[in-house]
């Protein structure tokens, strides 16, 4: 038996509602450890608790955690193939709108998977009523995934591109 999303959610809700500084829950092998004080990256990796836990409190839109976890289902776009979790920095859509990989129809895409990008470099456009929002990578790294098809609809907060800083 392991923690179900429901039970984790119930616990985190209780934690959110409380003024507690810290909460530790042990589930057989698993251990959920939440704290209002910053938890070091290492302390997180140390446990098998899902990375959703620390994210739940924060609204950090580019936390360095596996894409597979704690990510709102990227409907209507496709999720990365299960089994092979894409790791890296998630870049999320700044708005509802249409996703464009290139500055203009027919033009070359801003980025391709495997390509290196610099922090501040545009990786895609999200169009909102003719307003072209250029979405930039927050880090230097290598593009490990482009999760939305060109011209498809995206929601706010939906992961559109993943860049691996270690790459």
């Amino acid at each position: 038996m392991e923690m179900t999303p429901e039970t984790i959610k119930a616990l985190l809700d209780a934690f959110d509602r409380s003024d507690w500084r810290e909460m530790v829950v042990t589930v057989g092998e698993d251990r959920l450890h939440v704290s209002r004080d910053p938890l070091s990256e290492s302390s997180l990796q140390a446990h098998s608790a899902p990375p959703a836990a620390p994210a739940a409190g924060s609204s950090d839109s580019a936390a360095a955690v596996p894409v597979a976890a704690g990510d709102p289902p990227p409907a209507p776009a496709a999720a990365p193939p299960a089994g092979e979790p894409v790791t890296g920095t998630k870049i999320e859509s700044p708005s509802v709108g249409l996703f464009w990989r290139a500055p203009a129809p027919g033009a070359a895409p801003f980025v391709e998977v495997g390509q290196s990008v610099k922090a501040g470099e545009t990786v895609a456009i999200v169009e909102v009523m003719k307003l072209m929002n250029h979405v930039a990578s927050p880090v230097d790294g290598v593009v490990t995934a482009i999760l939305v098809e060109n011209g498809a609809a995206v929601e706010f907060g939906q992961t559109i591109v993943v860049v691996d800083p270690e790459g």
Binding site: D13, R17, S59, P72, S95, V96, G97, L98, E127, V128, M129, L131, A153, E155, F156, G157, Q158
Partner: protein, 463 residues
């Protein structure tokens, strides 16, 4: 043709209300939500949900571009703005028109003409609609001083573009005029980007009466009866009733007819409300303004007429026309709506965001509860504090009051403090039972006594 798929650009109880109307009409509903509302009741009930922006309303519910884009990318053929937020923004109606999306509300032109108080007052004059003595838009403090002298103090300074009491000042005497003018002008400028004011005779014991109207967009309009919304606190309505009580038949006919003329003359499509200030001492009514949208208190009109105002909105927007004629509108009994807010009456009605741990709405045949609340729902601090509307119907006003009080007593809510207990005390007050109230009664006469009586209970977190 009839609407197929509607984007609902709102949240809370009104989102749920519009979803229900779409369900009834066999229309698909797509709810545009901010990130904070992913788990809302509306998001659970809608056919589809689209996250348009972060919790902050400015980047979600108040962003015209995102809202229209949401309608486009989800393949909607119409957009319902609900109330508040963008519902009275001419820009939204215009953007929808341009994008080929049916706006569930008036045309940009009709909204512009009805939304601006000065223009609406001018139209009222044309149509021989009685208006409260006062000025058209004034250019300066000097002009205001002149008009005030004419109509006599006390006067009310009002923002021409305004609503909800912003840019409004009561001026008891000439001595107060200068500072009041400066304050009102500044507030109006800040709130609406339009500092224009006008002056009105202030009616001491005024009652707020309004008429629910449905316009067909081609000069035709029917009324769905009138409402009394006199019980307010700082221009925020607490309790609404239908019909408005104690009006002479002549006065009723006057305001009902006036409302139809106004909305008809605007070629207005959809639901609108015409507000009147009733002076019980004189037995007269003066036109105040038009609200070019669905209103929070529409259910009381639905309860006494059986007309579904929101479904009619959708029919009109879909070009199907009204399903009822004026002759079909018959007032049966009396209905009362109580707003239940997540606020602390003992802490000057400060909002009480938090998680609702217990929520059980009273179950009764003549009781309707419009809400987006459920056990476990967390009231975010970003939006208004309206938690639920409790509406009760009875054969007459006395019975409706009794049923409303009974329902309030059976409401179970825990986790956050609400105004339910306060509302019950209001409805038990002899002045309310007798209908001896005016628009400032809650603030000037009720709250002082109530606060004194409840000072002891402060901090107990009465739900």
């Amino acid at each position: 043709m009839p609407l197929r798929r509607v984007l609902i650009a709102n949240r809370g109880e009104i989102a749920v209300r519009v979803i229900k109307a779409c369900f009834d009409e066999g229309i698909e509903s797509v709810l545009a939500v901010s990130e904070a509302d992913r788990g809302s009741l509306g998001a659970q009930l809608a056919d589809e949900v689209v996250v348009i922006g972060p919790a902050a309303a400015a980047e979600s519910y108040l962003d015209v571009n995102r809202v229209v884009a949401a309608a486009q990318v989800t393949g909607c053929d119409a957009l319902h703005p609900g109330y508040g937020f963008l519902s009275e923004r001419v820009e939204l109606s215009a953007e929808c028109e341009e994008a080929g999306i049916a706006f569930v509300g008036p045309s940009p032109e009709a909204m512009r003409r009805s939304g601006d108080k000065a223009t609406a007052r001018a139209l009222a004059k044309e149509l021989d609609v009685p208006i409260n003595e006062g000025s058209d838009v004034i250019a300066s403090e000097e002009e205001a001083r002149g008009v005030a002298a004419e109509v006599g103090y006390p006067v009310l300074l009002k923002a021409s573009a305004g609503g909800g009491g912003r840019g409004m000042r009561l001026v008891e005497s000439e001595a107060e005029l200068a500072s009041a003018y400066a304050q009102a002008h500044g507030e109006a400028q800040a709130a609406f980007g339009d500092g224009r004011l006008f002056v009105e005779r202030y009616v001491r014991h005024a009652r707020h009466v309004e008429v629910q109207v449905l316009g067909d967009g081609e000069g035709g309009a029917i009324h769905v009866g009138h409402r009394d919304c006199t019980l307010q606190r700082r221009y925020q309505k607490l309790v609404e009733e239908a019909p408005a009580y104690g009006l002479s038949e002549a006065l009723e006919d006057e305001i009902l007819g006036a409302a139809r003329r106004l909305i008809g003359a605007l070629d207005y499509a959809g639901a609108a409300t015409c507000e009147f200030l009733v002076d019980p001492d004189r037995g007269s009514a003066g036109f105040l303004e038009i609200n070019a949208r669905l209103q929070v208190e529409h259910p009381v009109s639905e309860m006494v007429t059986g007309v579904d105002v929101v479904r009619e909105q959708l029919r009109i927007a879909g070009g199907e026309g009204l399903s009822v004629s004026q002759d079909d509108v018959e007032i049966r009994g009396h209905a009362i709506e109580v707003r239940i807010n997540a606020e602390s009456p003992q802490r000057d009605f400060a909002p009480t965001p938090g998680t609702v741990t217990e929520w059980a709405a009273p179950a009764g045949t003549d009781v309707r509860v419009d809400t987006a609340c459920f056990p476990g729902w967390t009231i975010a601090p970003y939006y208004d504090s309206l938690l639920a509307k409790l509406i009760a119907h009875g054969p007459d006003r006395e019975a409706a009051l009794a049923r409303t009080r009974q329902a309030l007593r059976h409401l179970r809510v825990a986790g956050v403090e609400t105004t339910a207990g306060f509302a019950l005390d209001v409805l038990e007050h002899p002045d309310v039972v007798a209908g001896r109230v005016h628009t400032r009664w809650v603030e000037e006469e009720f709250i002082p006594d109530w606060s004194a009586a409840h000072a002891a209970a402060v901090g107990e977190g009465v739900a």
